[in-house]
Symmetry: C2
Subunit: 209 residues, 2 copies
DNA sequence: CAGATAAAGTAACCATTGGTTATTTAAAAA
DNA sequence: TTTTTAAATAACCAATGGTTACTTTATCTG
């Protein structure tokens, strides 16, 4: 079995991923060319095509570890010992922070385009992760509102909750401010937004009259 | 003064706008080439550059009449005789419907990029319209919540309201479904989302204890 | 009617980009 | 030593937005 070759190959792949990660984060996906990534990674651009097929696949592969980590964070809070509303609050902020940090991947998380129907394997890793995450969000909403699982009301409540999160991160997707600055400046607004939604849901399910 | 020349010139410009409108709506901004627009408009692609400068400027100019009409719709409801909450409800649905119909212009309304700082006139028509619209939204929120004008609470409430709208239209930005189908399928959810937010705001300003 | 004017077409061109395809080089494996 | 194989090199392709020089044609004006 080869060993040094394997290692070298793996190293090149990692170099590419690192370079792409840096560049995408710094300049945004669209503004980065494959030749640039190659230069930064210290390899030829053809090597990238050997390992990743095309540009979007590169971004794809790049996004999986980050997404998986987020999923873990959320999982902890869903199955943890927090009271449901507190869990939902924290999950929301985790999600927002994550999306602001990884703004360059925005379209991977939110645009249907990134679901590659032309793929050999229909169960693309990223879709598994994404679906898992949506299920987690729904679970968190369910525990908050005590709605029957699988009910239409739960689905629409989760949708509404998702709209808000989506709108928040979408609003700042192209902002020049760093994720940190945005969180500093707007954390209170984000909190308030979540709180208003929770209040609204509560009022909806326990009408005031 | 020339007359027939002027008319012809105007006609060409209109043909281009019409063609671009059709194509952008059908295939999306990115997927349409300038040569395509020219072909559809029955002119050469250089003519487009004469009239509009570049592709984005074409989309820009195309979006202004539509936006102005939306602004009118909203204005009516803000200054009309509806009770404030009903006005906000209708404005929200107007806004959502408009954004779903004009999905191809999504990035004009929501992406900072479309604010061209490199423009000779800093007061670009579209920015005037857009700012006017935001002021209207804030006014509608203000009349609902009775918050002092110019207060931080009003600003953050409007932001939250905007997040929700932004999230709703963003979620379906790339959907293949027609605006009509989406409205049919999701109108109740949209209404519920607005209702939840209103309930939440109300609960927030009149705490239940 | 004749010449000036301006709208628009034609066609060539440019740079950039994502992507592909030989062919070669060099190091590691057999 | 011979064979693999990772990877570089370099050339190429097609599409795209955008530009420019030159020409045609319809209209306006004297």
């Amino acid at each position: 079995m080869p060993r040094k070759k394997q290692v070298r190959s793996e190293q090149t792949k990692q170099d590419i991923l690192n370079a792409a990660g840096r560049l995408f984060a710094a300049k945004g996906y669209d503004a980065v060319t494959m030749r640039e990534v190659a230069k930064e990674a210290g390899c030829s651009h053809t090597a990238i095509y050997i390992y990743f097929g095309d540009k979007e696949a590169l971004l794809h592969e790049l996004s999986i570890p980050a997404l998986t980590e987020l999923q873990l964070q959320i999982e902890e809070k869903v199955s943890g010992k927090l009271e449901p509303e507190e869990a939902l609050r924290r999950i929301s902020l985790d999600f927002i922070r994550f999306c602001l940090i990884h703004r360059n991947m925005h379209h991977i998380f939110f645009e249907a385009r990134s679901i590659r129907v032309d793929e050999a394997e229909p169960e693309l890793e990223i879709n598994r992760v994404r679906n898992g995450m949506f299920r987690l969000l729904m679970q968190a909403v369910q525990q908050c509102l005590n709605l029957p699982e699988g009910s239409g009301r739960l689905l629409s409540a989760t949708r509404i909750y998702f709209y808000l999160l989506h709108g928040i991160v979408g609003t700042y997707q192209l902002s020049e401010e760093s994720a940190e600055d945005l969180m500093d400046r707007l954390l209170l607004t984000f909190r308030e937004a979540i709180e208003v939604l929770l209040l609204g849901f509560r009022a909806q399910h326990a009408p005031d009259k």
